[in-house]
């Protein structure tokens, strides 16, 4: 199986789904704003996971496209609102939505994506019992994403954030949506409770792994590849796993929370974090969450789709941006 070709196929279906389920209609400028980020690409990982999960339990990936689109729109909604809250002005190498449409426009575009996601999902013509479970799951997930973002902001003003608190935060802020995507695929594909539950755990665990890896990438990826300022987490004083490990081990980080830094200062901080073991620690933890997540897929019979779910996770952790 060619994973990239498979993801490419899924991405194309998601793109078409976005075109179908989020048309640019009246008021045109609002809908242009809602399409700005989804149309700018992104890896479409969450909807791909949803579709592979549906196939892996014997379902049909095309029939779950609306759910895949809903999950992708929720993801985009969170990026838009987070960028306002975090004053991040660059996203996917472009001006953030709030830079182009102002805070009010970005709040509204995000809110619209939010409600459209539930419109699209609840409009699916599938078994009602399973559909309601999907809606319950996606709405619960959105609440948890808000809780995670709240904790993320709260941690900025605290010096005593523990590793457990950090893990709770990233689980809620980013991993639950992977869990929801995988489980929704399973639910709509007709899987049993045991299998959908394992799929949820798979998504959750690989989501944690991805996020830890993302925090690593924020430090080591060149800016033009990353599409945003390198080392921004560090300069903003974000309590990432790396920062928490460093702080707990008395590692001195001059630029931590200083708002800005030169390229040289960032390079130096990265060297310090490599030597202190903080960066290697994060890499290892990401690996171990990945392994645990993949193990959860043992409940599935072998299939191309199961293989894709396994490989997608390896790809995510081998990527450099």
């Amino acid at each position: 199986m060619d994973l990239f070709a498979e993801i490419e196929k899924k991405s194309k279906l998601v793109d078409e789904g976005i075109e179908t389920y989020l048309p640019v209609t009246h008021p045109e400028e609002l809908y242009k704003a809602t399409r700005y980020l989804p149309d700018a690409g992104g890896k479409r990982l969450r909807p791909s996971v949803l579709m592979f999960a549906a196939e892996a339990v014997g379902g049909d990936s095309k029939s779950v496209i609306p759910a895949a689109v809903a999950v992708e729109l929720v993801h985009n909604f969170t990026l838009i609102h987070d960028d306002i809250m975090d004053s991040d002005d660059i996203r996917r190498g472009m001006p953030a939505l709030h830079v182009k449409w102002g805070d009010a426009g970005a709040i509204l575009a995000g809110d619209t994506l939010y409600s459209r996601a539930f419109e699209i999902l609840s409009g699916m013509d599938v078994d009602k019992e399973r559909l309601i479970k999907c809606i319950q799951l996606l709405s619960r997930t959105c609440t948890e994403i808000c809780e995670g973002q709240w904790l993320d902001i709260e941690f900025e003003d605290r010096d005593d954030v523990t590793e457990d608190e950090y893990l709770e935060m990233i689980t809620k802020k980013t991993s639950v949506l992977y869990g929801a995507a995988a489980k929704m695929g399973g639910l709509l594909g007709g899987a049993s409770e045991e299998v959908t539950s394992a799929l949820y755990d798979f998504g959750l665990l690989i989501g944690v792994s991805f996020q830890i890896h993302d925090d690593v990438l924020d430090l080591i990826t060149p800016e033009d590849v990353l599409g945003k300022v390198r080392g921004s987490d560090l300069m903003e004083g974000k309590k990432t796993l790396i920062a928490i490990h460093a702080l707990n081990n008395g590692v001195k980080l001059d630029i931590f929370g200083k708002g800005n830094a030169t390229k040289e200062q960032i390079d130096k901080a990265v060297s310090v974090l490599e030597e202190s073991g903080s960066l290697p620690y994060a890499r290892n933890l990401a690996e171990s969450y990945l392994k645990e997540g993949k193990d959860r897929l043992n409940v599935l019979e072998d299939s191309e789709a199961k293989q894709a779910l396994l490989e997608i996770t390896d790809y995510m952790l081998s990527r450099k941006y």
Copy 2:
């Protein structure tokens, strides 16, 4: 029937429902923020309409409480985000949420109310077919509310807003939620398609009526009763029906769009709008929408609940704040 006692009873059920379905849990400060506005009161009109509608079609109002709470939370969510966008710092006589928790806190508290509303609604143990119709309706309604708010903001920079455009804007921004509330009550109460459709129209039409009346009240209600700055719509240059009528009739309004004004200047503007016929025109239109809305209830058999729906509308249009 004592309408106020009936609304009081419904409000109490909604309050208890909020306590049950939106508990202050971890992260505590986030949930305190989500409860700030719902706990500050409000008239609970939308959930009351939902519960009366359920009773009026022979349903049980207690069993629809989660739906009533969901509608009230959606309403509160829109107030929170609107206040950020409109830079309105006072709400229900208190500092707006974004004044107390900052923009980031208010965005997140709003987002949380949004998803909690769908969690609460989708968690109801009722006929699945009808529940999905409710979710479709509420999510569609939320999208329309966003469209309405977008138009409202867009109108600020335009001098050629027509009465039809204004009516589209208020229909989406505020009336659809009344329509959704009434129809959800009907759906969950077991009503036919004909009746739920009439209930939707009833809610929509009285919503338009209420909004026009609100625009009137913004001009004539003392600040301490209104709970926000009097004449703010006028000073902000909002294209309300009154302002559009005045502009179309060549009425000169010195303070229009000027950002601020003295009490005397506001009083003068109100006199001018009375004499130009703009305020009377708005009052009459509000009355006529009200009548049309009430007529839609002819499909219902007589009942105390139907009587309450009729009287609640009269009360809304006779209120002075």
